[in-house]
Each structure stands twice: as C-alpha cells, then as structure tokens.
C-alpha cells in the first residue's frame, strides 16, 4: 500500500509542477469564461417567448449559444485532456531509465500503474470540477439564476460521468504509453484513436448503413419508410461504438430534463412522439437516470476494460534498463 501512496504523491507533485498543468489551467479559465459569457448573453434571446422557463441554470451547460455548448465541447475535446495527462505515463519512466529502478523496489508492479491512473483521474476531477464551478459562478452573475437542489444533483451526476469519460481516454493513453517506447509515438497513436473513434465512426456507420440497408427511391411508401428506418437504426448502432456518442447519450437527459429519450426524432415510436409534443413537462431525476442507465454503464465498462487491458499488458512486460 505504501507503494501506491508514494508514487501517487510523486505523480501529483509532478502534475502540479509541470508546464502541462499550467497549459491546462489556462485552457480551463479560457473555456470557462468564453462559454459562460457566450451562453449567458444568448440566453435572454433563447428564453424569449417561453412563458415559464424551467431548469434555466442547466441551460448554461447545454445551450449552444453562438458556437457550441459546454457538453458538446467536453464530448469533443475532453479526450484531449485525458490524452495529455496519460500519453507519457510509463514510457517517460522507461526513456528516463527510472522504470527498471522502480520495479526493483519492494512494491507490487501494479502499484506503479494504479498510482499513475489514480493521479490522472484526480487531475481530471480537478479540471472538470473547476470548469463546472467557473461556469456556474459566472453564470449566476450573468443570468442571476441560482440552481435548485435537483439541478445541483444533475450537475453532480454529469460531473461524475464526464470524469469517467475522460478517464477512458486517460486509460487509452496510458495503454499506448505502455506499448510504445517513444512518447511521440504514443501521443500520435492516442490522437489517431481519438480521431478515429470520435469522428470517423459516424462516417463509417453511414457507409455501412447504406451498404446493408440502402434507401431506394420506390413508389411504395411503406417500403421506403421501412428502408429509411432500418438505415437510421444501423447508423445508430454503429455510432454507439464511439465513446463520444455514449457520453453524449449518457449525459443528454441528465442535463436536459425536457428530453425524454436519447433517440433521434426519426427513430421514435408514435407514442414517444406523441408524448413529446403533448407533455411539455420535465422528467424527474430518477426517470432521467433510468433512461440513460445503459449508456452510463457502457461508459463505465469501457473505461474499466481499457484500464484492464493496460494493466494486463504492463504486468507481462519484461523491463530492462536498455
């Protein structure tokens, strides 16, 4: 146990004293201020004509303002934080030739990787919490609305999900730092996987859908609708391979209680569509969680699987000083 604590302490010291942390901190302040002011200013326009707005505070995080919302931003660029924190975790020690020294101390080998992962997760938690706090603080100043108890709960759940999502990328980056000896290679490999999983899966999904269930121009209305629905369904399934989609779905009804499903409009059944247009009431928190539970669990699962692979690979490696 002393091994994990000692390494964790050293890793945290390293994180806090590194240039990297300064960059991340600057990024946090910048993003927080930009998003809060952007959304705060456009909020007034958005709420015009709404008789009795609910969950206004959460809109600070979900409203897209002029460019993008905070949730979209984290879904897209959050992985970068994980990658930056983890891409050189193990191979930095290897190239500094401190790894062989470390493993010849009386600590379990997994203490090294566990401590590094934990330190990374702590950093991610700090980054995310400060982002949410900055936006909340500025938001309260700008729009003058104080969050209710339920909104705070929803934000907390969102915060935990975001930490898990970014930790998945931390795990992936650490895995590459175990597999590749050079820090540049592992950084590039992590970025490649990030781009592939975040952007190309959607593209690949639509290709796949067109190949499996092509949408033909037929006169038969029923057949055309059928083909269209099938096509959309396949695209949806393919997109679930992307952690970004999982994260987006898992957080969707949490931060936006007016949404009652994670599905796109075209895929809704008639009853769902009916209820959406008919009942303009927010979902209670418990129901929001129930809807996104599968996505939450998948997100947690892939994070653990990713770290598990990383762990297994590291434990089997032979460590030489050359």
């Amino acid at each position: 146990m002393h091994g994990i604590l000692t390494i964790y302490r050293k890793e945290m010291e390293d994180h806090f004293s590194s240039m990297r942390f300064l960059l991340i901190a600057a990024l946090i302040v910048m993003i927080g201020v930009i998003i809060a002011s952007m959304v705060g200013m456009s909020m007034q326009e958005e709420l015009r004509g709404v008789a009795k707005p609910t969950f206004v505070f959460l809109m600070l995080f979900t409203s897209t303002g002029k460019l993008f919302s905070f949730v979209q931003f984290i879904g897209l660029l959050g992985p970068l934080i994980g990658i930056i924190l983890g891409f050189d975790a193990i191979n930095r020690e290897r190239s500094g030739r401190t790894l062989s020294k470390l493993v010849s101390q009386p600590i379990y080998r997994d203490a090294i990787i566990n401590a590094k992962f934990l330190a990374g997760v702590t950093m991610i938690a700090i980054v995310m919490a400060s982002l949410v706090l900055i936006i909340s603080g500025l938001g309260i100043r700008l729009i003058g609305v104080v969050p209710g108890a339920e909104e705070i709960w929803r934000l907390l759940i969102y915060l935990v999900l975001s930490i898990i999502y970014i930790s998945f990328w931390l795990g992936a980056a650490i895995l590459f730092s175990v597999v590749f000896r050079s820090t540049a290679t592992s950084a590039l490999a992590s970025l490649a996987v990030w781009i592939c999983l975040s952007f190309f899966i959607g593209l690949g999904g639509s290709f796949l859908a067109d190949a499996v269930a092509p949408i033909n121009q037929t006169a038969d209305m029923a057949e055309a609708t059928d083909a269209f629905l099938k096509n959309a369904e396949i695209q949806r399934v393919a997109s679930l391979f992307s952690p970004m989609t999982l994260y987006g779905d898992a957080t969707s009804t949490i931060l936006d209680p007016m949404r009652k499903t994670t599905r796109a409009f075209v895929l809704m059944g008639p009853l769902e569509r009916f209820s959406l247009s008919r009942f303009q009431n927010p979902l209670p928190l418990g129901q929001s969680v129930v809807i996104v539970a599968p996505f939450m669990i998948s997100l947690i699962a892939i994070t653990f699987v990713c770290f598990g692979i990383c762990y297994a690979v590291f434990m089997r490696q032979e460590i030489r000083s050359t």
Binding site: I7, K10, L99, S100, K101, S104, E318, I319, S321
Partner: protein, 251 residues
C-alpha cells in the same frame, strides 16, 4: 566454518523464443563474497541478474536469493537486495536528496530515519556538496555514485551491480571500485557484479565467473582459474586477460 549461501542457481535456463539467453547455469555465491561476473556483451549477464531479481521469469531451473524464490516472492527478495541497472536513470528535475528520499519512501523507510541515512550516504559517495543540485546537471560518474547511494539506502544484504564502471573515466572507475570494496569489507555485503573489463574484475573479486554465449564456462577464485585454464603451476605469473581469452577461444 562454512559460510551461508545467499545466491543459489541451479540449471537456470532462459529462452527468448528459440534463442537461449542463459543455458543451464549452476552457481552459488556465499555471504560476504564479491563475485565478478565476466563475459562479452550479450552473454546473458543482465538476463541472469533479471532472473535473480524476479524481474523476468526463468524458463526452467531454480533460483534462490537468501532462500526466497524471486519469481514467487518478488517483494521479499526486493526488500533485501539492491540493484544498480546498467544504465541507471534518475528524475532529472529533482535533486539528489529528493531522488534518494523517493526510493526510501518506496522502501517504506520513514522520513525521520531516512533523513539521517541520506546525509550519511551522500557523504560516503562524495556527493554531499552537490546534494541540492538537480540530477539533470550531474556527470556520468556522479550519477553512478548516486546510483550506489540509492542501492544502499535500504541497507540490502545482497547488491547486484550491472556494469557499474561502464562509461566512467579512470578516476571515476577507481572511486567506484573503492566504494564496492568498502561495501564488502565494512558492511559484509554480498556483491554480485558484472563487467567486461578484466583488470577491474581481477582487482576486486573474490571469485570470478566467466560466461560466454549463455554458458558459464568457468567459475572460481582467480588462482584456481589460472591453474585450470592455463595449466600453470602455483607462483607462475598470469593475468586474467590470458585466462579469459583462453576460454573465449575455446567457446
């Protein structure tokens, strides 16, 4: 009185794929001995050390270090041994004292004990003056001496040194050899070191093992090797180089 055997290897073999790195190595080293492990580059010296440390598993054969099996009880073994790798690295942005403190903490040595020990060790390896400088600015010789201090911080029973004098200038080499001898004489530590520099091995070893292509071709005190290898009588002059080249050509 028969001395206690601290390192025992029997029929130790390590294969990498189809390549044999270490071939049925049988060897034991007694308490307090300085054992010099000789051999050309790639002979399997480092691999043997890794197996002794439990950092890699032997393909077959048995290893015991102070009675523990390094593959089964790696922590027990790592508590009582110190290892200086061939290319030792440090955390460049920390000073000598911080580096030593980190290793001490990993060995579960409380700070109040390690503080005094670190000062004493820095004195001993002649780095007390440079203790507050970042290790990044250290010369090769200073790093190697800091490496020794790091090995000693946990007060090991057995010390493994992999090529401790590689890349050092003559002065650095001499200081290093003096340090190693002092360890054995003053602290009765068992020292197992590898090298391919013959005169150094000759200078400080009690016993010598010659390893070529994964096989231990000879082991014993220098005089005995001379008699067996060169067929010399007692009192005749010899150098380790002659013995070594003889075995090397045979292999």
């Amino acid at each position: 009185m028969e001395k206690e055997i601290v390192i025992r290897m029997e029929e130790l073999t390590k294969l990498y794929g189809t390549q044999t790195a270490v071939d049925r190595l049988t060897l034991s080293v007694a308490q307090g001995e300085v054992f010099g492990f000789l051999g050309p580059n790639g002979a399997g010296k480092t691999t043997t050390m890794l197996m002794l440390l439990g950092l890699t598993e032997p393909t077959s054969g048995t290893v015991r270090v102070c009675g523990f099996d390094p593959a089964r009880d790696p922590l027990k073994v790592k508590e009582i041994i110190g290892y200086l790798p061939e290319h030792v690295g440090f955390y460049e942005d920390m000073d000598a004292r911080q580096n030593l403190r980190y290793i001490a903490r990993l060995n579960d040595i409380p700070d109040r004990i390690s503080t005094a020990r670190i000062d004493r060790l820095l004195e001993e390896v002649d780095l007390a003056g440079e203790a507050t400088k970042k290790v990044g600015s250290y010369s090769k010789g200073m790093r190697q001496r800091l490496g020794i201090a790091e090995v000693l911080i946990k007060e090991p029973k057995v010390v493994f040194l992999d090529e401790p004098t590689i890349g050092l200038d003559p002065d650095g080499t001499n200081r290093m050899l003096d340090l190693i001898q002092a360890l054995s004489r003053e602290r009765q530590m068992t020292i197992f070191f590898s090298s391919h520099l013959l005169d150094q091995v000759q200078q400080i070893s009690d016993r010598i093992g010659i390893m070529i292509k994964g096989k231990l071709v000879a082991a014993g005190p220098l005089a005995e090797l001379a008699q067996r290898g060169l067929g010399l009588e007692e009192g005749e002059a010899y150098t380790l180089e002659e013995i070594y080249m003889k075995y090397f050509k045979e292999a």
